[in-house]
Symmetry: C2
Subunit: 161 residues, 2 copies
């Protein structure tokens, strides 16, 4: 079980967008160059973010993407689910139905006990992701990254008018 590569890309892109000057857009091309990933395929991930209402895109030269809301209102879970989907990592195929010993009376059993445990763990995973916002991430990065690199990032972005 492994998350898509696009999840990692989308998270890093959102981290960049969260650090952007007010009302500034950054294009797919620049985001791809910044992370060294294929532009076309990254575009798909960004479209997913756009469709989920996390970012908004604008056309034309000097177009691109920016966050659709404040960074504090976008969580890791929002981004992960936008790219990876909201369905649980565990899918119950109800193989207990195949058991020849099962009660034929079709008692309306609730969900399988095994599935409940797995879904519970999945919920814990999502809760943890929902607890961290892009604002939290930006705070951490501002704290950890060397100041000169942050400055250089500002210049780099400024350079792409």
């Amino acid at each position: 079980m492994q998350l898509r590569n696009q999840v990692e890309w989308a998270l890093h892109c959102c981290a960049i967008l969260a650090g952007l000057p007010e009302a500034r857009f950054l294009s797919t091309k620049d985001l791809a160059k910044l992370h060294g990933v294929p532009k076309e395929y990254l575009g798909k991930a960004l479209q997913a973010l756009s469709q989920a209402g996390l970012v908004e895109g604008t056309l034309g030269p000097s177009g691109g993407y920016r966050l659709a809301r404040e960074a504090a209102g976008i969580t890791f879970l929002d981004i992960v689910e936008a790219v990876e989907g909201k369905s649980s990592s565990f899918v119950c195929t109800e193989i207990r139905k195949n058991n020849p010993c099962r009660t034929p009376g079709m008692r309306k059993n609730g969900p399988c006990a095994i599935a409940r445990v797995m879904w519970d763990a999945d919920r814990a995973w999502r809760e943890r992701l929902a607890a961290v916002s892009l604002a939290d991430l930006a705070r951490t990065l501002a704290d950890e990254l060397p100041p000169d690199q942050i400055a250089r990032m500002g210049e780099w972005i400024e350079a792409r008018s």
Copy 2:
């Protein structure tokens, strides 16, 4: 992102094995019949459980599998990791290294802040799975399943001497 089908099968098989009479083995063939899944492919999952030391297999007629330890000592996490692997669902490819603005001085940055969040969520998922043992599951099932079905299961198993 989705767990293998084998994970579900392995969990259900372990649930059966946990309910087995002392020292009783159950073969792959019977486990496959009981769950309506392909015998050969299920065998692979059971081999993974065996290799992880969760179950032990014996050869010959009346051979098969049984739990290698007491049900209370085997958790959902053990089973999931035996089949699915222990590696995190999020793999950090260090795309920040591709950032042209990064400090060339190779400051020994710790792990990426984004990866840390994702790994933390993965840890929460695993902790939740580690909190439930096969004994817990057996207790739940004994509580929920209709008694006659449990009885019929006993007969069914008894029938395969």
